[in-house]
């Protein structure tokens, strides 16, 4: 983030990764949505994007590359941004993503620090993409896998536009550290403790079943190992716990806002097409980033 002048802060972000779905166009959409997400999480609007591409020219055809880039372009256009170039190199496996420049009024920039006691936590996308990606590789739970792909391809734009109308205190997007990992980062930066209701968390279809049969990525265990400040009520089933540590790709926004604003926010979010948005917990008081999950 860079303060250009009193009215404008520049936001710069980039991300890219290997395919997580078989369809190249869908992969392009997901990778682009993922790269654009950070700008939305900071309360900004994307302006321009550049493609970052690695591609095995000898192994895959040009049509595949074209499909990936078309998927990316669709998302960039949907975000109201402009694709201004990019760079491609030859590599053993394909990777795709974007470098994005966005803007925000400095007074409206959101970080993950600033959550306050009395705030409610809202999550705008369902959880379970890591588990369902593992299911994809095991050729199981195809319905869940398809739902996960659609969810990952959604832009956080619509949730971010609703945020602009509310006095949001803190925001972060949910990615590789899982819901609890990013919630911990927010809580620790804000110097508060959180309570999360495991039963309120929106889950992708078949994610719970996939977690129950052990289709859990190694990253979920790494996240669980790293996060020592999370305490579970004894009734939270293991598969649900695993989902809360599940690393997400192109996840939703985790928003901390005053409790009295929550129902208004949810109403507007759902009207804007963010149907899954739900209250998942609250900021219980000043603290050190402890999270109690009931």
């Amino acid at each position: 983030m860079y303060l250009l002048n009193d009215e404008t802060a520049l936001i710069q972000t980039l991300d890219f990764f290997t395919p997580i779905v078989d369809d190249p166009y869908l992969f392009g959409q997901i990778a682009a949505a993922n790269s654009l997400s950070d700008v939305y999480a900071m309360g900004g609007k994307p302006l321009t994007a550049m493609n970052i591409v690695t591609f095995p020219v000898c192994k895959l055809s040009a049509e595949v590359l074209l499909a990936i880039l078309s998927g990316g372009q669709q998302k960039i256009a949907e975000a109201g941004a402009v694709m201004v170039g990019g760079h491609t190199i030859d590599d053993d496996e394909p990777k795709y993503g974007l470098s994005v420049t966005g803007v925000a009024p400095p007074a409206k920039i959101l970080t993950n620090a600033g959550a306050r006691p009395g705030d409610v936590l809202i999550l705008t996308k369902a959880v379970g993409t890591g588990v369902l990606y593992t299911a994809l590789r095991a050729e199981l739970f195809p319905q869940g896998v398809a739902a996960a792909a659609q969810s990952m391809a959604q832009l956080n734009r619509y949730a971010a536009e609703v945020m602009a109308h509310f006095p949001v205190h803190a925001c972060t997007d949910i990615t590789g550290f899982g819901l609890l990992g990013h919630a911990y980062e927010m809580a620790s930066a804000s110097e508060v403790d959180l309570e999360i209701d495991s039963r309120a968390i929106p889950l992708l279809p078949e994610a719970a079943e996939a977690a129950e049969v052990g289709l859990i990525p190694a990253g979920a265990y790494a996240n669980r190992e790293y996060l020592k400040s999370v305490e579970f009520h004894s009734a939270v089933p293991v598969n649900l716990q695993d989902l809360l540590f599940d690393p997400q790709t192109s996840g939703g926004l985790l928003i901390s806002l005053p409790g009295c604003e929550a129902s208004g926010f949810l109403q507007q979010a759902r009207a804007a097409g963010v149907l899954v948005a739900a209250c998942i917990g609250s900021v219980t008081g000043k603290g050190t980033g402890k999270i109690h999950v009931k």
Partner: protein, 204 residues
């Protein structure tokens, strides 16, 4: 990968394989409905995942850990009660469940209590009817970790289809999660389900 049939025992070597290969291979092997099977893995995620898969497929799981190689011994459950998934098939409601709230038996002398606990498990194996479940809470979870004096009889019980249920909250409290060597990590809800089923519970 090796898939040798030793009499009726199938051993699946999943060492060196990344997730979800160990689960996929275990799934394929369990489709043949073996009475028992052993799976070898070399990392924590694979161990957890194969154990979860096996449990959800109606197999009791006991785990040995030697030099970073996990040996998961799977045994088809006689009672076919799948506590993890909450599914109940034909249940042997006559066999009691045993709830152990500590790792010693009786009060008066801790040393004697430990000796009694060893003797208790050895005798338990000789009963004509095994309990349907052994539930471990509070310091009872020490009985299920790698250096437990009753690890062998507990593993044998698990092999024979007795559900060994180890309280996860307790394992965390005593920082024993990584040392669990037998049974499934469960929570109070699952333990309560077991306690309130038909059949006696013996609390020691």
């Amino acid at each position: 990968m090796s898939n040798e049939l030793k009499s009726k025992l199938v051993e699946l070597n999943c060492q060196g394989l990344a997730c979800p290969q160990p689960v996929i291979m275990t799934k394929k092997a369990l489709e043949q409905k073996p009475a028992e099977m052993t799976v070898l893995v070399d990392n924590l995620a694979a161990k957890e995942n194969v154990a979860k898969f096996a449990a959800s497929s109606g197999y009791g799981v006991s785990i040995e850990n030697a030099d970073g190689i996990y040996r998961l011994n799977l045994l088809a459950k006689q009672t076919a009660v799948n506590v993890a998934a909450g599914k109940e098939l034909a249940a042997d409601s006559e066999a009691p469940a045993i709830l152990l709230g500590r790792n010693t038996l009786g009060t008066g002398s801790e040393e004697l209590g430990a000796i009694l606990m060893k003797s208790f498990f050895v005798s338990l194996l000789e009963l004509s009817q095994l309990p349907r479940a052994v539930m471990l809470i509070n310091s009872g979870v020490y009985l299920a970790v790698t250096d437990s004096p009753v690890l062998q009889p507990l593993q044998e019980l698990s092999r024979r289809g007795v559900a060994v249920m180890v309280c996860g909250t307790c394992l965390d409290y005593f920082s024993l999660k990584e040392k669990l060597a037998v049974g499934e990590v469960t929570n109070m809800y699952s333990i309560l389900r077991e306690l309130t089923r038909a059949g006696n519970t013996i609390t020691l």
